[in-house]
Symmetry: C2
Subunit: 250 residues, 2 copies
C-alpha cells in the first residue's frame, strides 16, 4: 500500500546449498576452469561480462574472483585481466636446503634412470592407479657448483605421461613442471611437501657422494592438477645438515 515499501534489492532464491552467491559463483567458475573452458595462462572474460552472464552485480562477481585468486586458481593483474594460473613455477626444492656453494644458482639436472614399472602400493594409492597399473619411474640427480646435492625419486602415471617415456632424457628441461605442461598437457596447480628425517641407503649415498647411512632430509611432494587429481609423487633426498626451513605462525 505505502509507496515507501519498495524493495530496493530484489532477493533471489536464498542459499540453495548454504552457499553465498559469490561462493557459488566461485565454485562454478572453478569447475569451468578445471573443465578446460579457459586453459591455464589464458584470460577470463572481464568482470563486466562475467557479472552480467551470472546476473549479479560486479562487486559480487569480484568477490568470487578474489576468492579463487586467494586459492591460487586465478591470478589478477591490474589493467590487464584475470588469468588462469599456469603451472607452479620452480616450486624450488632448494628453499629447504642451504649448501655453502652456488647460492641462487639454478641446479643442473641429470636423469640417472628411466623405466616403466609397477609403483609401490603407497605411490599407486596416491596416484589413484588401479592395482598393478604401470607408471614411469625416474631417478634424477641435481647438482650445485658441480657437486651432487639432491636425489629425486619420481613416479608419474603412465597413460598421462606417455610422451616422456619416448623422448631422450638428455633433451629434457631442468624444470619439470613447465615441461609437463608443454609435453603432456599436465598443469601442476597445487602441491604438498612432507618433511621427514632419514638415513641414506648405500645406493642413494653413492649418488650423492656421501657415506652410507648418512642422515638425510626426505621431502615427499604430491603434485595435483586443477581437477584435484594427483599427477606426480616425488621424493627428494638431501644432506640433513644442509636442511633448514622457516615457518610463519599467526
Amino acid at each position: 500500500m505505502t509507496s515507501s515499501s519498495k524493495l530496493l534489492v530484489p532477493r533471489l532464491e536464498p542459499h540453495e546449498a548454504g552457499l553465498s552467491r559469490y561462493a557459488a559463483i566461485a565454485a562454478s567458475l572453478r569447475a569451468r576452469v578445471a573443465a578446460g573452458e579457459w586453459p591455464p595462462g589464458s584470460a577470463l572474460p572481464s568482470e563486466q561480462v562475467l557479472a552480467s552472464e551470472q546476473g549479479v552485480a560486479v562487486a559480487t562477481l569480484r568477490r568470487a574472483l578474489e576468492l579463487l585468486a586467494a586459492q591460487g586458481v586465478l591470478e589478477r593483474v591490474h589493467g590487464r585481466g584475470t588469468f588462469v594460473r599456469a603451472s607452479l613455477g620452480g616450486a624450488p626444492m632448494l628453499r629447504f636446503f642451504r649448501f655453502g656453494d652456488g647460492n641462487g644458482e639454478i641446479p643442473a639436472s641429470r636423469v640417472l634412470q628411466r623405466r616403466e614399472a609397477t609403483p609401490p602400493e603407497e605411490v599407486a594409492r596416491e596416484l589413484g592407479l588401479p592395482h598393478g597399473a604401470r607408471a614411469l619411474h625416474l631417478l634424477r640427480l641435481r647438482c650445485l657448483g658441480g657437486r651432487p646435492r639432491l636425489l629425486e625419486d619420481i613416479w608419474l602415471p603412465l597413460p598421462l605421461f606417455q610422451a616422456l617415456a619416448e623422448t631422450p632424457t638428455a633433451g629434457w628441461d631442468a624444470l619439470f613442471y613447465p615441461m609437463y605442461a608443454q609435453r603432456c598437457g599436465v598443469h601442476v596447480q597445487r602441491a604438498t611437501d612432507s618433511i621427514a628425517f632419514d638415513t641414506l641407503t648405500p645406493a642413494q649415498a653413492a649418488h650423492l657422494q656421501l657415506p652410507a647411512r648418512h642422515p638425510c632430509a626426505r621431502v615427499q611432494r604430491l603434485a595435483f592438477d586443477l581437477t584435484g587429481r594427483c599427477v606426480e609423487v616425488r621424493t627428494t633426498y638431501g644432506d640433513a645438515h644442509a636442511f633448514h626451513y622457516t615457518i610463519q605462525i599467526t
Copy 2:
C-alpha cells in the same frame, strides 16, 4: 551550471603516502591496538562507529578490518564483534612430531632449571638486548605417555619477565603463552619456527633418555608481541625419527 555535473563521490586528498584509504586506516588501527587502546581479547567499536570516526563508508572500514583479520591482528565473529586477538594458543610444538604413544594428549611439563644469565650473542641480538644484559634462562622437559619427548631451551628478556623469576616453577601452567599474558602482560601475537637437523649433546640426550649424538630435529622459535618486539627465543629438541611436517604449496 548543469545539474547533472554533480560530483557523487567526493574525493578527498588522493593517497598521501601511496596507500589506499583502507590500508591507511588499517595501519592506524594496528598502531592503536599496539599502543594498548584496545587490550588483547577486548572488542573494538562497531563498524558503524569506526566508519563515522574515520569519515569513510562502512564498506571501506570493513576492508581495513578484514585486512587486519587476515594478518592475524584481529578476529571477527559474526554477530558478536571484532576482537583483538589474544595470545597465540598452544602453537603446539607437537604438530612437528609424531610419537607412537599418547596422540592428542596434552604433554606434561617440567621445568628442569631456572637461572638468570647473560644470553649468547645471537639470542641477545634477537631479543634486542644491550650487550651484557641479563635474561631468564629455562630448561624444560615435556613428556608424553610418561616418556620424555621434547627438551626446550628458553630465553626471556628480564625486566619484562621478572614475575617468572620469583614464583615457584612447580605452580606454572603447562602452556606458557597464556601464562606470559596473565603474569607478565606479554601477549605473543606472531612467531616463526626455524627447523634444522642436529645431533644431541650428551646432556640433552640424558634428559631425553636417548643415546648421546642421537639425531634430533631442532626447532628454534622466535615469538613476537603486537609491537613487533621479540619476547622469547625457544629452541626445542626432539628425536629426528619422530619428526614430520607437511606444507601446502600454491
